[in-house]
């Protein structure tokens, strides 16, 4: 049964006077993987970062429209940004492990929210690392620096770190673009597993990746004013086999972008 976890309604995002995202309306379905694809600069990262209010960090940015998460508009003035970010986690393009041990990388989040008992932290660390398919790699080096791991392991560490605080939604901003093909494959497999527990939104440059990992795909493009617009949203199979919009077809067949 398909339920909308997030509903994006008429969302526009501005950097000062520049409109980076223009009037996007689309659903994000629960326990599904939604991919956002499109050429560089089409606003897909900006759209993604709106979903956990990371754009707040950019001076001069503001948004119009609504992002409804479980009935609550995330853009409302009274919303606690910290709570939004606890519920909507994020994994970045470049692996960004903190300069501390593998264990502390994972425990960082739960500790923030008041989890102190060693036994519970131990359990969270193990569960999170298992969830990110990293446990077998690092179970004997939990005290080692997270920055000493390989690139692919670092990225899975960051995924483990994100799921350690049990978010409801996981945002991934080109999580595999800095990794080699084998590490990429493992991340993609991981996405498929994570989908059982989390609602995932993934931005990717790589159309094959979108086709492989996602259930739904949103295709974005810049309009004449260089603002990102949603061209088409549909089931991934439909987007890649019977796109309704000429521009979508041109893009996925590699005729531009």
């Amino acid at each position: 049964m398909l339920t909308q976890k997030i509903e994006i309604r008429n969302l526009s995002v501005f950097y000062k006077s520049f409109r980076a995202v223009n009037d996007v309306t689309m659903p994000v379905y629960e326990n599904k993987v939604t991919a956002i694809i499109g050429p560089s600069g089409c606003g897909k990262s900006t759209l993604l970062r709106s979903l956990n209010r990371m754009n707040d960090l950019v001076p001069g940015s503001h948004s119009e429209g609504e992002i409804i998460l479980d009935g609550e508009n995330l853009l409302d003035a009274g919303v606690d940004v910290v709570d939004v970010r606890r519920r909507v986690g994020m994994v970045f393009q470049r692996p960004n492990p903190f300069p501390m041990s593998v264990y502390d990388n994972i425990a960082y989040g739960p500790r923030l929210y008041g989890v102190k008992k060693k036994a519970i932290l131990d359990e969270i660390v193990e569960e999170s690392l298992r969830g990110a398919a990293l446990w077998d790699d690092v179970k004997d080096k939990l005290k080692q620096s997270g920055m000493a791991l390989s690139g692919g392991q670092q990225q899975r560490l960051c995924i483990a770190r994100a799921i350690a605080i049990q978010p409801e939604v996981l945002l991934m901003d080109e999580p595999a673009s800095a990794l080699d093909p084998i590490a990429t494959l493992r991340i993609e497999e991981l996405v498929a597993q994570l989908q059982e527990r989390y609602t995932i939104v993934i931005v990717t440059h790589n159309m094959q990746e979108a086709a492989r990992v996602s259930d739904y795909t949103a295709f974005m493009m810049m309009n004449e004013q260089r603002a990102g617009e949603l061209v088409e949203f549909d089931e991934t199979a439909a987007i890649f086999t019977t796109p309704q919009d000429k521009r979508t077809e041109d893009y996925i067949t590699g005729r531009f972008g």
Binding site: Y113, G114, V115, K117, S128, G131, I163, Q166
Partner: protein, 313 residues
């Protein structure tokens, strides 16, 4: 995960506590900003209030009058400061940039380590010690206090400031940029000047400004090298030189080899004299000194902004 990890913590309580702590820390940081700002604003306002009355055109273009007489200006000090800072800048800036590039490319060689260590030491040497060193090196052999000697010691004051700040700024330039230029076959010197230095320009200029501000405010080393001269007047020397048909070299000699006054020197001398007019003028000198540093900074920032518009379209 097995069960909700948040079942055992009281999340609203954690949030409430966090907000409290956040507000307290935010308040404290705001308070420290105010505390740090008070002395600065105080000094500026105090100097303006005490100094603005003696500032007029005469103050900038006239030499001092006889002690105890009213009127007159401090053009000797203003011109002397500018001449010596120019000398210091001409010597210290290219040298400092060369050293900074050396440290950038050879950070771990024995010489690199030694240079970094000695620049750090140099920046820690009390300026009066640099002054007496300058006296022994640049004054005694010529038996003459001079603007050149003053400029040289100011260069020594400037040098470590500019070296260390430039080195830090050059280090921030991504190495891909350097490699990109070298990969086109560009020689190392061209890469350094046209790519790396330009990329780091903003920080380098800020460091130079810091060095200049430091140099222009120094008093102690000038006591031993420039000494002071109530008749120092570059324009006067030039006028006189043209009138008496002196060569360019002779005029230059006059400008650089005469005992010279400087703003901080004048401030120091005037402030302790028994004549109220001079004490009042010393506040004016303080104000001019502050304005000069401010002007230098505004000038550099404007130039940088203009430059940035050129390179970034």
């Amino acid at each position: 995960m097995n069960g909700d990890i948040f079942a055992q913590v009281n999340l609203p309580r954690v949030y409430r506590r966090r907000k409290w702590v956040n507000n307290i820390i935010l308040g404290l940081t705001g308070l420290t900003v105010i505390l740090a700002g008070i002395p600065l604003v105080w000094i500026v306002i105090y100097v303006i209030l005490k100094g603005w009355r003696v500032i007029n055109l005469d103050f900038f273009i006239h030499l001092p009058t006889a002690m105890g007489a009213t009127g007159g200006g401090v053009t000797n000090a203003i011109q002397g400061s500018i001449v010596m800072v120019i000398v210091a800048a001409i010597i210290a800036i290219p040298l400092a940039l060369l050293i900074a590039f050396y440290l950038l490319y050879y950070p771990q060689t024995r010489l690199g380590v030694a240079i970094r260590f000695s620049t750090d030491l140099l920046s820690g040497v009390p300026s009066i010690v640099i002054g007496i060193f300058g006296y022994a090196l640049f004054v005694l052999p010529f038996k003459h206090f001079s603007a050149l000697a003053g400029g040289l010691v100011l260069a020594m004051i400037m040098l470590p400031v500019v070296v260390r700040s430039s080195e830090e700024m050059l280090k921030l330039v991504p190495k891909e940029l350097r490699e990109g230029s070298l990969a086109l076959g560009a020689p190392e010197w061209k890469t350094s000047l046209s790519v790396i230095l330009v990329a780091a320009m903003e920080g380098v200029v800020t460091g130079i400004m810091l060095g200049l501000a430091r140099a222009i405010g120094e008093t102690a080393p000038l006591l031993f090298t420039a000494l002071g001269n109530e008749h120092y007047d570059v324009f006067g020397y030039i006028k006189q030189g043209i009138a008496t048909n002196q060569s360019l070299w002779e005029i230059f000699h006059k400008i650089l080899a005469e005992p010279t006054d400087a703003l901080p020197l004048t401030l120091w001398k005037y402030a302790q004299q028994p004549y109220p007019e001079r004490v009042e003028q010393s506040w004016g000198v303080a104000l001019v000194l502050m304005l000069l540093v401010l002007l230098l900074n505004i000038g550099a920032r404007t130039w940088l902004a203009w430059k940035r518009r050129q390179t970034h379209g």
